[in-house]
Amino acid sequence: MIRKDFSDLKIEIQSNKISCYEHENYIAGVPPFLRGNSSTMYLQTPIKSKFIIENNSPTSGNSIIKEKIKLGYNAFTLKFNSKNNNSGILLNSIDDMISLLKDISLDEILFTFNTNNENTIPIIAFFICASKELGFKKELLKFAIQINSENFTNRNTLLNFLKHTINQLPNFESISFSASNYSINGNLQNSLSNYFTTTSSFIQNCISEGIKIDTIASKISFSFELDNNYFYNIAILKASRFLWAKMISEFQPKDQISNALQINIINSKSYLSTLTAILGGAQSIETTIDNSFFIEKETYITKTVDPLGGSSEIEKFTEEIILKTWKEVINKQKNDSFNQINEQVVISNENLLELAIGAAKKRIKLDEIFKLISIKI
């Protein structure tokens, strides 16, 4: 056969996108933040890896933290033992907290506390108190707390905490509400809509207590556990950012950033879930194996914002999740029993955290402090 002449070959470029969804016209860095919270995402701010400390005594937890700091970690999730849960760090007193935190530059590390909801205030009290004894003022402390939004029973204590202390703890990062793992309960819309109705009513409570929407919105984040349905999970994260922006806009914030949902991926156990978290635009990831450095350095994935933006499959999922979840949020908000819960909130004028700190200083044990607070609610 004679060699062909290919010199006239040309590729035909199409510029029309056939399947196109309305939400595809948004950009990152402005509401509704569907494509990402910042305009440059990981190009300028790498994802934060939070190393999980659990199943340790305070002393061994302390050595693991120090060891991981040497490897470059500056964020840790501390999982504490509680009544309903046998795993986690066993912590009963301020002295346990001191053992856990000693010889660490507490002002340089972000700690996220994960415990059952009612122990939150005593744990924060131990943390503030122990830090003070270790030489760090509470104004310098960076910390966050994780709350399970499915079983949200300590609304009053949290409101009390925010009302009295939000201005005294400038580096308090956030209350991270978790949505339940939908692969276990099987219904994503239910799980997501619970998250949005719970946080929305909580914000309403905060506003009633005189906290401004721009103060509280930026202090609430979203904890979510991924499963191996990777691309559906990416759509969940994108849809959640949109839904948050939509929900917050009803409170008419002045600062755009209030519309941006901070996403924390929890219990990440595999490399592929770190990859999914990054492809979905999460801010932080809780893990015991940090692969984000590998992803950043070797794969070029973080060199562009929302690299899978436009994907037929993911954008289809994204729209589907947005429409179904919002519908369910509206239904839940119309529901009477839901409104009743909202009205029942009455907040004690006493500063419960202060009370707990006072007790912690006197070496009172966690259980006792819990009782002390419970009476005051």
Binding site: E12, S39, K297, E298, T299, Y300, T304, L308, G310, W326
Partner: protein
């Protein structure tokens, strides 16, 4: 209906996005801070938006992706046992690697009629043996992967001689027109240090030699063996760009075909320092290949690199297969890449650049001629040197090395061409030679 949901926020454009970034950069240089130039000469922008959408038509496959385990035949019986084990662990495809003919009945015992794809990688060309294989495996899906030009590129020599090699293939094709006799082993170029654009161009030009010699009917009976590197989205776009261009050149032969592609993780970025990091690399690379729409993905054989003890080696390969199988839960893999602004844009750019190189090669007399003249080898070495320079100057990072930096030194490669060759061979070379 959806208006109700989306009318709260105004739509926005690329121009606004860029303005916002520039405002936030507070005077820092946009190009220097946010543009990433790759070794292909393609620039990754900080964002891709629907208003600058561009794409190509990509022929895609709809069949389930196969997972392949490679088996080196030392002893026929052992190879057979390994194969049975691999199938048990979830492999749906097997690649037998052999330097000499083997007892076909022993090796394939209990393997046939199980809907398994078989691939052969033989470092010799023996027409009779191939005919015997074809006869004994006549109801199976088999890829013989005979690549006489690829063998010349890789070893520097023909299997037997130019005439005899081409004659053998001609006879094999004539006798067995429905079998996948031929392959284009593009992995040789990748592992030798060619960049993605070069790999696409060379694969096309390489295949074109076969089309020219054996006719357009072979177009749909060639398997393309690609090695997948670490640049996640570029590797996805590589497969797509190749499929587009292959069909484009087939227009000249008045035919069309969806290229059959076999993907394996590259050898180039692997190190001996950290098995775990290598597994993550291989995982990422296979993930890219899936999203690119390959036909077959393959476990990386760590044995070559590590001299693993049998037990550990088996565990590693078993785990790899499990992870790969789990990934195949992904439905509609083509639809995930399809219409992604970034992937589509990369596909266009890779295709444009590769087509130019392809045309140049054709203009100067074709791939075989350039291979004989040493042009292809020179271009690959140039790119490999560029990559090595980036690695040495720490712009290109292999993370396990980076973390263990104090304990390692890069030794110069001492692979020498020890046998006499017709042309200079394209040798596989790892970036970090440890």
């Amino acid at each position: 209906m959806s208006d109700f949901y989306f009318n709260d926020f105004p739509s926005s454009s690329s121009a606004t996005w860029k303005q916002k970034i520039q405002f936030e950069l507070k005077g820092a240089d946009y190009n220097q801070t946010l543009l990433t130039k790759t070794i292909e000469g393609i620039t990754i922008k900080p964002f891709y938006h629907i208003d600058s959408f561009e794409k190509l038509d990509i022929p895609t496959i709809n069949s389930q992706i196969k997972i392949c385990e490679k088996i080196v035949i030392d002893s026929d019986k052992e190879a057979n046992l390994k194969a049975l084990k691999a199938i048990n662990n979830g492999a749906s495809s097997l690649k037998f690697i052999s330097t000499k003919s083997f007892n076909i009945t022993t090796v394939f015992e209990k393997l046939i009629n199980k809907n398994i794809d078989f691939h052969l990688q033989l470092s010799f060309l023996d027409e009779d043996f191939i005919n015997e294989l074809i006869c004994k495996l006549k109801n199976e899906s088999v890829f013989y992967n005979i690549d006489i030009i690829g063998n010349l590129a890789k070893t520097g020599n023909w299997f037997n001689s130019l005439n005899s090699d081409f004659k053998s293939i001609e006879k094999l094709i004539e006798k067995n027109p429905t079998n996948y006799i031929l392959s284009v082993n593009s992995n040789t170029y990748q592992n030798g240090g060619a960049n993605i654009v070069q790999q696409v161009a060379y694969s096309l030009a390489h295949a074109n030699e076969y089309l020219l010699k054996f006719g357009s009917d072979v177009a749909s009976k060639i398997q393309f063996n690609f090695a997948t590197g670490g640049n996640f989205f570029f590797e996805i776009a590589k497969i797509r760009a190749f499929r587009h261009l292959f069909n484009l050149i087939l227009e000249k032969y008045n035919t069309s075909s969806v290229a059959t592609i076999f993907s394996e993780p590259t050898y180039r970025n692997k190190t001996k320092l950290d098995l775990k990091t290598n597994i993550i690399r291989a995982t990422t690379e296979n993930f890219s290949a899936i999203l690119g729409g390959t036909n077959t993905i393959s476990a990386f054989s760590f044995n070559e690199l590590y001299n693993l003890k049998t037990e550990l080696s088996e565990n590693v390969s078993k785990n790899q297969l499990l992870v790969l199988k789990e990934k195949l839960q992904i439905k509609n893999q083509n639809e995930i890449s399809n219409n992604s602004y970034f992937i589509e844009s990369l596909t266009v750019q890779i295709a444009e650049k590769a087509l130019e190189i392809f045309k140049d090669i054709e203009n100067s007399g074709g791939f075989l001629k350039q291979l004989k003249e040493g042009t292809i080898q020179r271009k690959i070495i140039e790119n490999a040197k560029k990559e090595q320079f980036l690695y040495n100057s720490e712009e290109l990072v292999l993370t396990d090395i980076y973390k263990n930096k104090k304990n390692t030194t890069t030794k110069p490669s001492n692979i020498k061409n020890q046998y006499k060759t017709l042309i200079s061979p394209i040798l596989a070379k790892r970036i970090h030679q440890d």
